[in-house]
Amino acid sequence: MKPAPFDYVRPDSLAEACEILAGDEDARIIAGGQTLIPMLAMRLARPSRLIDILRLQELRGIRAEDGAIVIGAVTRQVEVERSDIIKRALPLLTKALPWVGHPPTRARGTVGGSIANADPSAEIPLIAVTLGAEIEIANPTGRTGMPADEFFIGPMLTSVMPGDCVCAVRFPLWPHRRIGTGFHEVSARQSDFAFVAAAAQVAIDDDGRCLDATLGLGGVGDHALRIDVTPLIGADIARVSIADIVRAATEGLEASSDLHATADYRRRVAAVLGTRALEDAFVEARDRNGAIQCGVVQ
């Protein structure tokens, strides 16, 4: 349970980190280390060098920016969990955060680390996919953005090229006034990996008509998925069967089987939790007048 020897560097800027990364193909980025260090300890990874970006101020923090909330890659999960901006602007993320690891791992683990690790059952990638976030990636030639659903391509597999560094996640804000969110998850033990996790966000008008809706599922397949719930949009939510729409949308879902849960179980639970998450979201949008999302100022 001891890692193989490696060198440790702590660059002073993102540019320097990218340069080191580009010059050494066996180097790895370390931020919170809550997933990487166990992999090193079990020698599933043997990097030549660890590039510590945790203290790079340019990668840290939560800020509101023209219609989006941008979370720096090395912002610790606990900071997001407790953030008032996130609570107001991205209530879905606030709801999902308590399901991420345990309090001690959230104290060190970062948002960018969870994104870059791309665990199929991880909650932060799920919320990124559900809300259509954009992942900002830096390399020695500059910065680019990539939609979350193109970023995650398989279990622990992303479109990030060697030498790239995830530097921020940009969550778009919805322009609607009445927004509701719902999050459900089932796992073997509290805070363990999700067999299935469902995240939903909806917007309704004052007459209870659905203006927008999104549903994401994690833990079911190789990566977090956005489910097509467009039949809900424009419908009077008192008159449609959410369960039928979700069931139809998840019918042919590709699900994985493992020791804990069969593919069939995952598909069935996905339909149930997806329905519950949407129902919760509509109830929240209706009863609590919704979270006021637009016009967030820092």
Binding site: P3, P103, P104
Partner: protein
Amino acid sequence: MRGRPVKVRLSINGRLREADVEPRKSLLDTLREDFLLVGSHAGCEHGVCGACTVLIDGEPSRACLMFAVQADGYEITTIEGLAPAPGELSIVQDAFCETHGLQCGYCTPGMILTAHALLTHNDSPTRDDIVEAISGNICRCTGYGQIVEAVEFAADRLRKTNAPRHPEVAIADEPVRLAKSKAPRQGVLEAVQTDAPRGGRS
């Protein structure tokens, strides 16, 4: 040569300590081997069990999921740093003794530090708050019942002794001077030489 030892300066329990460590050495191993602070226990060594929990700037964190080279500049608190003075126990430690919140004791330092961090920012935790806080700490002896009880008991005591924070709370059953007194109080166990120069080892 790859992985050559480097010098680290760590602030541990309020004192600045130095050691030469390989980059691959975990904070846990450094605390135990270089500073002889063996109260932080090595359990699974990959972040599952919580036996190695220490406080990093007051937040419970796994000492096995951090390298010593990453830990400079933080305020690190180990179980040895909790007692207010030699021969005393902190309120949380004392509560664990009184309610039999430990059996073999292996998970106890991690449990106590986690509870300490919880009670620092929440002196009236609900049972759910406590269960959530210690959800990352595994105990194979107690069944957790007495541990939760210990944290509730410690919270109760903290509320009563921290008179200035809540002047409206009745403190009739515990005179203020007792809380301020440096003398060991009832229920405090015998002297322990915590965080002595050699980590309490002779």
